[in-house]
Amino acid sequence: MQTGLWFLFVAFAVVWAVLFGYLASLRARQQRLEVELRSLDAALGRREGETDAPAGTS
């Protein structure tokens, strides 16, 4: 009985650990991409601003 309970505990712990681990990895990837998206957006804005600016202005 005790052994059965131990295996039951391990199985449920593994299920929840894997699920929370996957959710954490999704969140981390999402945050990393959003940071990159913002920095690329800003870089593109700067680049287009430079191209649009009339000659002699900075």
């Binding site: 009985m1 052994t3 059965g4 309970l5 295996f7 039951l8 391990v10 199985a11 449920f12 593994v14 299920v15 894997v18 699920l19 996957y22 959710l23 999704l26 990837r29 999402q30 991409l33 959003e34 990159e36 998206l37 690329l40 957006d41 870089a43 593109l44 680049r47 287009e48 191209t51």
Partner: protein, 220 residues
């Protein structure tokens, strides 16, 4: 989306309670039988996830709409997570009941092959940079790879196996309370699958937007 997340979380907690507390203890296997609830629920959702990969792959090849490719890629990754859970909970149950962690039983072997097929699908996607080519090759792989899903499912009827099968066509070896706990767990994990697909597909969309911006910046 928030409502779906809340409903899925509530269903997961309900499934946990029904599986661990409410459902009666098995007369022969004892407490360890309760591993069956998340094990079957994750196995069902792995089937569902790989079926969505099949549908997304066929739809992409027909329409060339990237949304289908994103759905297939997302579902494949979640399917691999669920199959990993099947392959982790199964041996824990096997060690307690059969006395061994693993045996080359047809159901276990075909499930391991299934895991390798879809890990291969994800590795293949990661190895190809060009989006159109990646989507096309992955779609073909996603269609061919699905062949193993019915083989896994019917392995218990096609071959001699020691894997228990309580649910067979026209036959159900399960007490009503255990069946309720099983169905609630299957529903809860299906809702979780829906949440994960929504999150993962959004990730694919942002990733595509980042790649497009990077390209624009390079050519600007």
């Amino acid at each position: 989306m928030r409502i779906l997340i809340r409903v899925a979380a509530a269903a997961m907690i309900a499934g946990l309670y029904l599986g661990l507390v409410w459902a009666p203890e098995d007369a022969i296997l004892g407490q360890v039988q309760r591993i069956f609830y998340p094990h079957v629920a994750t196995a069902w959702n792995a089937y569902l996830a790989f079926t969505v990969v099949l549908v997304g792959s066929i739809a992409y090849l027909r329409t060339r709409n990237e949304a289908w490719d994103r759905l297939a890629a997302s579902s494949a990754e979640i399917g691999v997570v669920f199959t990993t859970l099947v392959l982790l909970t199964g041996p824990i149950w096997a060690r307690a009941v059969w006395g061994v962690w693993w045996t080359w039983d047809p159901r276990l072997t075909t499930t391991l092959i299934l895991w390798f097929i879809y890990v291969g699908y994800l590795v293949l996607r990661a190895a190809i940079d060009q989006p159109d080519r990646r989507a096309r090759i992955a779609a073909v792989f996603g269609i061919i790879g699905f062949i193993d899903v019915p083989i896994v499912h019917f392995s218990v009827t096609w071959w001699r196996t020691i894997h228990p099968s309580v649910i067979r066509p026209g036959k159900l070896d399960l007490e009503p309370a255990m069946l309720v706990a099983l169905l609630v767990n299957v529903a809860a994990f299906t809702l979780l699958y829906a949440v994960l697909v929504a999150c993962r597909t959004r990730l694919e969309r942002v990733s595509a937007a980042v790649a497009a911006l990077r390209e624009r910046l390079r050519s600007a």
